[in-house]
Symmetry: C3
Subunit: 444 residues, 3 copies
C-alpha cells in the first residue's frame, strides 16, 4: 500500500515530474527500427513520456528524434518532406537534420545569422536491439546504452515486438515481477492434462528440453503452490526477485525475475536451453504505455516457427494489428469467452500477454495503491516500489542513480531452477547461471 502522495510520485512521468526526470536520465526505446524501414522513409509521430515527438530516418540511415514543431511558424514537421540529409517543412521550406541543425532557410538571405541561431530541438538517438532509443535527459553527453542481454546476441537469435497497453506503465512492471499470479491468471483448469487442444499445444511448445528433467511438472508445481516464498537481492542494475514453490520431495521450484532500473523486467520462466524473455515499459502518457518485448536465445538462432508463434501472440508477445495495438484489448473486453473461463482457462481470455493486459488495465488507468492489502507473496513488488521511490527521491535531491554508471550490469539472464530447500537465492542463481545475479556479459 502506498500513500496517495507516493502513488502520484511513482506513476507520473510527464516533463518536470520527479519520476519523469528520473526516467529521462536513462535511454528509452521510442519505436522499433522497423517503423522507419529505410532511408528517407516517411517520418513517424511518436509520444513518449507525455511529449509529442517526431522520428525520421535520413538519407544515410541515421535516425532523428525531434520536436515536431517547426521553429518558424509552428507548422508540424510530420507533413514535411524527408529529403536528402534532412526533413524540410512544407510550409516555408526550412530544413533540419537529425541533430536539429538548420540546413536550409530559403525565406532568409543566405548570409542571415538566423540560420545558425535557429535549432530544432532534437534528442540523441541510437539503434540498439532492433529498437530506436532516445536520450531525453539534460546531460550534454548521454550515458552509455544499457547492455541488456537480448541486445548483445546476433539479430538472428532474437525477436523484438511492441504492444500498446491502456494503463500506467508501473502496473505492467509490477505484473512482470509478480510470479505469484502464475498460479491463477495464466492457469488452465483441472489436471495438467486439462485444457483445450490449443492450450496443450502451447504448453508443449514452451517446454523445451532443459538441463533438468522438469518440463511439465512446472505446471503442476505452479498450480499446486499459490504461495511462493520470495527472496530479493539488490545489485547495481536493480533487483533479483526469486519466488520459490514446493516441488517434489525437499526441492523448491524457483522462478527468478529481474527488475532493471528504471523500466525493464526479465521473465522468470526459462530453464537452460529455453528461450529468454524480457520487457521494457515506456510511458506514452500516464495512462497508456508501449511494452517493448523481446525473446532471445543466447545459444542459437530463433526458428521461423518461433518467430511466427510470437507474431501470433504466443509466450509473452501479443497478437497486434498494424498499429501495434493488441487485437484483444480493453475496448473489446479482450474477447473474453465466459464458457472457456468456466471450463478450460482461468480467465477465458486467449494469450498470456492479453491475460496480463486485461488484469493490469483492470486496475484502472492509474492503479489506486492506497486501497491495497498486500501480503508476503507481493514482496517483489514491494521491493521494486521501494527501490524506485528511493531513486525518485534521490532525483529530487539531485543525486544521480548508480545504475547509470553500470550499463554492463544490465547483461543478466533470468530463469527457472529446481534446488534443495536449504539453498538461498544467491546460491540458486549461482547453480543456474554461475554467478548470483545472472550476469552473462563479457565485461563489467
Amino acid at each position: 500500500m502506498l500513500s496517495a502522495e507516493d502513488n502520484e510520485l511513482i506513476t507520473r512521468s510527464g516533463p518536470g515530474t520527479p519520476a519523469g526526470r528520473l526516467l529521462r536520465q536513462f535511454w528509452v526505446p521510442v519505436l522499433l527500427s522497423e517503423e522507419l524501414p529505410e532511408p528517407d522513409c516517411p517520418p513517424k509521430r511518436i509520444k513518449v513520456l507525455g511529449e509529442d515527438l517526431l522520428a525520421f530516418r535520413d538519407s544515410s540511415g541515421r535516425v532523428g528524434v525531434v520536436d515536431p514543431v517547426c521553429p518558424h511558424r509552428g507548422a508540424n514537421l510530420y507533413y514535411g518532406r524527408n529529403e536528402h540529409a534532412g526533413l524540410r517543412c512544407v510550409f516555408h521550406g526550412w530544413k533540419f537534420d537529425v541533430d536539429g541543425r538548420c540546413l536550409d532557410m530559403p525565406t532568409m538571405p543566405a548570409d542571415s545569422p538566423y540560420r545558425d541561431r535557429i535549432r530544432l530541438k532534437a534528442y540523441p538517438a541510437r539503434e540498439w536491439g532492433e529498437c530506436v532509443w532516445a536520450y531525453m535527459g539534460p546531460a550534454a553527453e548521454p550515458p552509455p546504452l544499457p547492455k541488456l542481454a537480448f541486445a548483445l546476441v546476433p539479430p538472428s537469435h532474437r525477436y523484438v515486438s511492441k504492444k500498446w497497453q491502456d494503463c500506467n506503465w508501473l502496473q505492467c512492471v509490477e505484473g512482470a515481477l509478480d510470479t505469484t499470479h502464475f498460479s491463477f491468471l495464466h492457469m488452465l483448469l483441472g489436471t495438467e492434462e486439462a485444457g483445450t487442444a490449443e492450450a496443450v499445444m502451447e504448453r508443449i511448445k514452451h517446454a523445451a528440453l532443459g538441463a533438468q528433467a522438469v518440463r511439465n511438472d512446472r505446471f503442476k508445481w505452479v498450480r499446486d503452490d499459490p504461495m511462493p516464498a520470495f527472496s530479493v537481492d539488490e545489485f547495481p542494475a536493480g533487483l533479483v526477485v526469486g519466488g520459490a514453490r514446493k516441488a517434489d520431495g525437499d526441492d523448491l521450484y524457483w522462478r527468478i525475475a529481474h527488475y532493471l532500473v528504471p523500466n525493464h523486467a526479465l521473465a522468470p520462466s526459462a530453464f537452460p536451453g529455453e528461450n529468454y524473455h524480457g520487457q521494457t515499459f515506456v510511458p506514452v502518457n500516464d495512462t497508456s504505455c508501449w511494452i517493448y518485448t523481446y525473446t532471445w536465445n543466447p545459444d542459437r538462432p530463433l526458428t521461423e516457427e518461433e518467430r511466427e508463434a510470437a507474431r501470433q501472440g504466443h509466450t509473452i508477445h501479443a497478437q497486434v494489428d498494424e498499429h501495434y495495438v493488441p487485437y484483444r484489448n480493453l475496448r473489446n473486453d479482450y474477447l473474453i469467452d465466459r464458457e472457456d473461463q468456466k471450463h478450460n482457462s482461468f480467465t477465458g481470455i486467449q494469450g498470456v500477454s492479453e491475460q496480463d493486459a486485461a488484469i493490469q488495465d483492470s486496475q484502472g488507468p492509474i492503479a489506486d495503491r492506497t486501497r491495497e492489502h498486500l501480503g508476503p507473496t507481493d514482496l517483489g513488488i514491494v521491493r521494486m516500489r521501494r527501490l524506485l521511490l528511493g531513486l525518485i527521491r534521490d532525483e529530487m535531491a539531485g543525486r544521480t542513480p548508480q545504475a547509470l554508471s553500470h550499463p554492463d550490469e544490465y547483461a543478466v539472464l533470468s530463469g527457472g531452477w529446481v534446488a534443495h530447500k536449504s539453498k538461498a537465492l544467491g546460491e540458486v542463481m549461482t547453480e543456474r547461471f554461475g554467478n548470483p545475479h545472472g550476469y552473462v556479459g563479457q565485461e563489467r
Copy 2:
C-alpha cells in the same frame, strides 16, 4: 424556475451529495433480473448514482451488488470467475460471496487472520418485480422494499423493461408528471381520424373497453384543451397530480398521475380495465439514467401480443437494442422524419417513449431551470420539485423521510376518469379507485 443553487441541489446524485444521500436512503433498481439469467452466469458491470459496481448471481441464485475492486491489488472482479458460491479474482484467486465475505485467500496461509478482516464492499440486494434492487444507504438494516403495485401482481400480469436516457434523471420525472404536453408532443395532426395507418392502429390498441364509453374521445379532449387545470394532493408516499381538461358538456376529463418519492412516477392514462404503466428513474451519473418501465394489469395476465407490442416500443416502452439503448436516440436525432412531422405527427419521431426522450434530452444534459418561465399548467412539476427539495433539505438536517416508514403507501394506481366539473381531485379519485390516493394494497 429554480435558483442555480437549487438546480444543483436537486440534480446531483453522486456519493456525498445531498440528493445522492437522500436517494441512497431508498431501495433503487440497479438492473433487470433477466440481466443475470442464471446461477453462476457472467457478472455484469453497472453504474448507479455515479458509483461503478458489479452485480453477479451466485450458485444458489442469490444476487450480489459489490464494489468491483479486489481489495488485494485492485484488479477488477468483472474479469473474475463466478465459481461455486462466490466470485474469484483471476489475478491471485481471492474469492468473495454476495455479501462481500472473503471465502478463500489462497496467497495467504490458511490460519491468517487477514481472511476475516478483509471484506469486499457489498450492498444489500433483493429481487422484486423482475428487477434487482440495491440498498446503497448507511443504515445497518435496510428499510422495507416499496410496495409498488406492479410488483404486487403475479409475473404473468406485468411486463418490465428498461431503457437508457441521455439526460439527468429529474427531467424524466418532470416529463412523467407533465400531462400538459400530451396536447402537443404526442399529438397527431388534423382530426382524430388523421394520422398514419400505424398511428391509428396504435390508438386502437391503447383504447381498451373501459367502464365508461370514453375511448377515442380522449384524443379529442386532449387535443382541444391544452390548458388542463391542475390539482395536487400530498400523501405519505408522495403526490397525486391531477390535470383536468374540458370534456363534453359540464364534464372534465381527468388524467391523474402519481409522484412516489424519490424517483417513481405512475402514468395517468388508464381507464378501468386498461393496463397501468409506471416508471422508476435511476441516475447512472448526473447526465444519464436508466428508466425502469412497467406495464401491468391487476385483473388479468398480459397477452403475448401486449408483450410483443411493448418490445416493439409501443405505449411507454422504447424499442431498444441488446444493451437497452433505444434505437432512436440522441446520437441519431431520434430518426426524426421532417415530412412526417409536417403532415402526420407533431414531432416526426416514432414512439411515445422516444418523443419523451427527445424533448427531455433536448433540455440539456442537466436542464438549466434558472431560465424557465412556468405557468399554471406546470403546477405538477412545481409541487414535485418543492417536495423533493424539502426532502433534500431534511436530509441535510439529518431528518429521515417519512415515506421510508410507509412502504405500503406505494401500492397505488394512477389513471383517467370523466367527472362533473364540480368534483375535486379527491372526490374524482374516490369515484375512480374507491379512495382518494388510488390505494389498492392489502394492508397499510
Copy 3:
C-alpha cells in the same frame, strides 16, 4: 512572435471575450442560403463564435437566427415544427417568429400578458451573397452589411461554398495573407513541366488569358523566388498586402492580397480577366471554424465547368461531404501520399485548399505564437496581427472600429501584376486596378 497574453487575446472569440466582442460588432456569415433551401424547411443547428444557435426559414422566406432554447421549459427548438410564419416548440406548443416574438402560447389564457413579455433571443439576419449573415452585437440598429465585391455581382457571376477547418480561425487568416508559402506548400516538383497530368491540367485551368502575357511564367517566378519583398498599405477597411518576387529582367511579379477587418481575406492570384477568390473565416469555437469561400468574375457568368471544378475541390475550394467537411482532413491525415510527395508535389496532399488546411491545422488547435521565429517574409502577418490587436484594444477601451462606418470600402479586388522594380505598391495597384486599394464599387 506574440506574448502568451496577446495570443490569448487575439484568438479567443467566445461571448464576453475582447476579440469576441469585436467580431460581434460586424456581420458574420452563419450558414449558406442553400442550407435553408425553402420556406418552412427543417431548422438547422449552427454554432457561431461559441454560441449554439438555430436558423430557420419561415413561410415567407425570411431567415431567423435564434437561441434554440425555448423560454418555457428549456426544450430545444431544433425539434420544433416549422409552421406557418414561425417555429413551434413540440413540448407545449409555444411558437416564435424570426424576430423572436411569441406568436402563440397555448398553455396560457389568450389574455395573458405573459405572451408579450416572453421573447426568444433572436439576432438580426440578412441574406447577402448566397450566405445568411447575422449581427450578434449589442447595437440596437445593426451596421450596414460589408459591400464585399463577390456579393455585388449577379449570382450567375459567383460561386460560394463553405468548408470546415479544425483549427482556430486566425491561423486561416494568416495563411490567406501569406503569399510566401506559395513557393513551397502548393509547389510542384522539378521543372515547370513537372507534375502529374492532373496537376498540369489544374495549372492550365487557372491560367486564363490575361492583359499581360505572363501565364505559366508565374509558376517559375514563384518557384524561383522564395523571398518575396513585402509592402503593406492600410486603408479604412483593412490592409493591402503585396509580395513582390523577381520576374524577368527588371520586373517584379506582385501577388497582392487584402485583409478586410475583422475576418475576410482576398486571394492574390488573379490577373485581369481571371476569376477572383476570397474567404471569410468564422469561428465555430476557438478550435474550429467555417471558411466561407467565394469565386467570382466581375465581367461574366461563371461556366458550369468552373462551378463543377470548384465542387471537385479545385482553386481554393475544398472537396467536401454533405456536412461541408472536407474529404481530406485532419482525421485522415489529408490522405497524404508519401510517394506523390517524393516525386510530384511538395506535400503529397491533393488540393490547394487541403494543403492549406493541413499546414494550418498542424500549427495546433490554437497556434502557439510565443515560439515563432518570424522574418521579413512574414510581414503581412505581422501587420494583420498588429491591426487586429489594435482593434481589440480599442474594443476594450470602448472605441468603435472605423471600418464599421465604411461598408463601401470592402468593395475591393486583389490580384497579381508584373511591374518594373521601381514601382511602389500603391503605383502597382493603380496600374492594375485604377486606384491604390483595388476599389471597384459604385460609391463610397
